[in-house]
Every structure is written in structure tokens, then in C-alpha cells.
Amino acid sequence: MSNWVEACDAGDIDEEDVMRFDHGGRTFAVYRSPDDEYFATDGLCTHEKVHLADGLVMDDIIECPKHNGRFNYKTGAARGAPVCVDLRTYPVKVDAGKVLVRIGW
């Protein structure tokens, strides 16, 4: 069964920005891209488990606040030292002004 969870209001996140979202003991990062699409990944960096939501979003990259490891938040791909392990991504949809993330089945 698909499990869409409400993360926030669409307007809660600025364009080209990120927000932390905790659910069920897990932490996620929800992104709004410069072209106004929403995405979600695991919330912690794969280098040292730091919250990515404190990092900087530039185009389709989230940069970790701790040591500037980079990921493409649309695909989860690790994009440069010191990170080498990809982030898990989650489907996102916007419904009636709410950002919904599918974090389970």
C-alpha cells in the first residue's frame, strides 16, 4: 500500500531551498527546485550523518553544511568528495497546496 505523508505546505519552502522533515523516527530533506518542483531525499549526509537541510541548494545540487559534500537531490547521486555513497530519494507530489512524500509502501 502506498504511503504518502504530508511534509509541509508548498509555500513553506522557498524556491531553490530545502527543509527538514521528520517522520516515524526518520529524517528527510524536502527540496524545492529553482523551476518550482519538489523532491525528497534521506535527511542525513552519507559522509557523517549531518542534516542536509542546513546545507545550501544550488540548482539541482544540495551541498552538505559540514564538509561541502554534494548530491544531486533529484537523483540522490553523490557528486563529489568527500561523499561517495548516494542518497536515497523518495517520490513527492503536491496536492491541494501540501507537499506529500511517499516514504513507505
Binding site: 531553490e16 557523517e48 549531518v50 542534516h51 542546513d54 546545507g55 545550501l56 551541498e63 553544511p65 559540514k66 564538509h67 561541502n68 568528495a81 568527500p82
Partner: protein, 409 residues
């Protein structure tokens, strides 16, 4: 015939350079030579998390499997002892002689030694994983740790030692801690954090004599009284490892001198990371040497590109961080280039100092705060510094003006 690429020094920089050569598609032989017995590993955790763990874990930059899969030949526990530049050959301590088309020196730096008699096994330095293991064994509740030098490594270690319940005294010869590169306002916050955690910090204290009898260390302060410790850790700076390069006749200037493309005075030999000094275009070509992790990473990758002929100049803004207790400090740029300071509050006690040059150029940003509170804005400041932007001081100081908007301007 291709002889291949040889990298001397299997630390942050050398390790990254080897990986980068493969990422760039180079398919000739890559040999990474290091005198430590370990895989290339990250040093920053050694004074931070790894020290607080029960058994320090080595955080490798690449596993044995990754090195094997990328056909990177890692020779460990051997030193490079000579370079024959004419023959393009390096001689290693076991007598073997790998040959190179291009050579990268990534020999790093080593702790500056305290030039005093009386030091023995209870007076130690922290640079390597093995150093960390030896120090960790002494960090337990009730043990007395003296830290000579109030620099980053010593202070981070002080924080780790307090977490483990040791009694810690920091002895600093200068009038305040973190004299080099850190604004007084920020050093003061760090000083207070340490005192609140029970660290005793003595500034402006010279050391008259040290007596290390193998069981304890007695440090006689110039001011009069003695500090007795179970272990003294000396952290008074680092010096670049340049001996091999100097003997090969390469130009040394506060490190192995390289040009903006990280090339030494021999066109087939590059140097990068802690061991080299290089010109920084954003500061008018000022020659600097950095002891910073990201620089080692970036220069390792850049050296790899240039060994393959990219001809790219180093343009990154210097960047450094330190973690102590719950506080993180980040510094982008060189604050000593600044003439005036603008402060921006970020909430929760976090703030950033923007350092502006005479002509209004942003030359550095130093931030401190809990967790990663300053990270995003220091990063944006770094981009402004790279652009040599002259943002309005009022905008920098105003919490309501987003730094990202200044970048677009």
C-alpha cells in the same frame, strides 16, 4: 611507453589525486606511495569524534577494494627517499624504483617540534592515526592532560578529553588562543566554551622547563608554578614536509613552491596539499600555504587534472572548519586581508564576521555557532569572496537581507 603517474604521500591529497586520475579516465599505471601502514585516511576525526569513541576507527578515503578495482597500486609503509629528475625515477626505502611521467608530491606536514630538552614518551604530538591511538589510551576520567598550544588541534583534543572526563589544562604562549587566523571575538567564544566545560586555559604563559620521567610530565611555567600531567600533547603548529623536494633541487618557499597550476620548478613534478605554497589570484597572487582538509582535497583533484594536461589554475577560496563541543567554526577566505569587520547575527548565538578590504571587497567570513548554524551563510560568503564582490556593509549586517540575493546582484 607510458611510465605512469606516481604520487608520494598517501594522505588526503594523495589519496584524492589517485582517485581523481581514474575518474578522469586515465588508464596508465597509478602508484600511490605512503610511509604510514594504513589506507589513505581522514585526519580531522582524530581530534574529534574518533577520540571520543572507545576504540578510534580509521576513516579511510578509499577501501582496499576500491583501490584494487581502480587499479591504484598503493604501496604502504615505505618512504620515498630520492627523486632522479633526469631519469624520472623515484627511489623508495626498500630500494625499488618506480618510474613516472608525472610525479605528485603530497607529503603533507608534520607537527612543529617543541625545541626544548626534557621531553620523553609522555610528551606527544597528534598527526597520525597511530598518534591518536596512543593519546586515546591516556584519555580517561581523572587523568591529567596538559595541552601545549591553544591552536585548533589542541583545543579540539581538549574538548574530547573533557568528554572522557580527563582534567585538562591548555598552555598558550600568546595573549589569547587561536591567535593565527581567528578573529578575537570568535576566539573568545571558544575560550568561554572551554572554561564552561572545565578546561583550564592559561594564556600568555611561557614554558621554562619540562621534565618527563616516563610516568608523568612536570611543566614549569615561566610565570612560576608547575603543571603536572599524565600526558602532555604538543600542538604548536605544523611544518611542511619538503626534504625530498629540496634534495631534488626544487624551489622551496614556505613549502614546496608551485605555480597556480600546482607545478613545481620541474614541469613534470607537481605538489599539492599541506606541503606546498601557491599563489592565490583572488588576493593579488599572494603566496600562501594552507593546512586545511578541503584544500588538500581540491588540490589533489586539481593536480590530477593538470598532470593530465588540463592547465587549470587553482581558484578555490581557502576554507576551514573546527568542531568543539557543540560549536562549529567555519572560516572562508583569509581574514588578515580585511581592514574592517561587519557582524551578522544568525540567531541562537550564531554569528558571522565579514572581513572587508579597504576597497570594500569581501575577503573573508568567519562564523561560529551551534551545530551547522553558520554553514550556509559562510558558503554563500565564500562565493561572494570568489567573485571579489563588494557587497554593501549594511546588507551584510542585516538579518533580513538574504546573502543569496547579494550573490545574484
Amino acid at each position: 611507453m607510458t611510465k605512469g603517474m606516481v604520487i608520494i604521500g598517501a594522505g588526503e591529497c594523495g589519496g584524492r589525486a589517485a582517485l581523481a586520475l581514474r575518474e578522469l579516465g586515465y588508464d596508465g599505471p597509478v602508484t600511490l606511495v605512503g610511509d604510514e601502514p594504513h589506507l589513505p585516511y581522514e585526519r580531522p576525526p582524530l581530534s574529534k569524534d574518533a577520540m571520543v569513541a572507545d576504540a578510534p576507527l580509521l576513516k579511510a578515503i578509499a577501501s582496499e577494494a576500491v583501490l584494487a578495482e581502480r587499479s591504484i597500486r598503493h604501496i604502504h609503509s615505505l618512504q620515498a627517499v630520492a627523486i632522479d629528475r633526469a631519469a624520472h625515477v623515484v627511489r623508495l626505502s626498500d630500494g625499488s624504483v618506480p618510474t613516472y611521467d608525472k610525479l605528485l608530491l603530497a607529503t603533507g606536514s608534520v607537527p612543529r617540534k617543541l625545541p626544548m630538552p626534557g621531553l620523553d614518551g609522555r610528551c606527544v604530538y597528534l598527526r597520525t592515526f597511530n598518534d591518536a591511538l596512543a593519546i586515546r589510551a591516556h584519555l580517561s576520567a581523572g587523568n591529567r592532560i596538559a595541552i601545549i598550544g591553544g591552536g585548533f588541534i589542541g583545543l579540539e583534543l581538549a574538548a574530547a578529553a573533557r568528554r572522557l572526563g580527563a582534567a585538562v589544562t591548555v598552555i598558550e604562549a600568546q595573549p589569547r588562543i587561536l591567535m593565527r587566523g581567528v578573529p578575537a571575538e570568535i576566539a573568545e567564544i571558544i575560550h568561554q566554551a572551554h572554561e564552561a566545560e572545565g578546561v583550564k586555559i592559561l594564556c600568555g604563559e611561557g614554558i621554562a622547563a619540562i621534565a618527563d620521567n616516563g610516568a608523568e610530565v612536570r611543566i614549569a611555567l615561566a610565570g612560576g608554578h608547575d603543571i603536572v600531567a599524565d600526558l602532555a600533547v604538543i600542538g604548536i603548529g605544523a611544518i611542511p614536509v619538503t626534504g625530498l623536494a629540496a634534495e631534488a633541487g626544487l624551489i622551496i618557499d614556505n613549502g614546496i613552491a608551485v605555480d597556480a597550476e600546482l607545478r613545481t620548478s620541474d614541469p613534470d613534478i607537481f605538489a599539492a596539499g599541506d606541503c606546498c605554497s601557491f599563489p592565490l589570484a583572488i588576493y593579488g597572487g599572494r603566496r600562501v600555504r594552507l593546512e586545511a582538509w578541503r584544500n588538500a582535497q581540491e588540490q589533489g583533484a586539481l593536480a590530477a587534472r593538470n598532470m593530465l594536461g588540463a592547465g587549470e589554475a587553482h581558484a578555490a577560496v581557502p576554507w576551514f572548519w573546527s568542531d568543539q563541543y557543540g560549536l562549529t567554526l567555519q572560516i572562508a577566505g583569509l581574514s588578515d586581508e580585511g581592514r574592517s569587520i561587519v557582524r551578522r547575527e544568525l540567531g541562537d548565538g550564531a554569528f558571522i564576521l565579514f572581513h572587508l578590504a579597504e576597497d570594500g571587497r569581501l575577503v573573508a567570513a568567519s562564523g561560529i555557532g551551534p551545530g551547522n548554524a553558520v554553514a550556509r551563510d559562510v558558503r554563500l560568503a565564500e562565493m561572494l569572496i570568489a567573485k571579489q564582490a563588494k557587497p554593501a556593509p549594511e546588507a551584510l549586517g542585516s538579518q533580513t537581507v538574504k546573502l543569496k540575493s547579494l550573490l545574484a546582484a
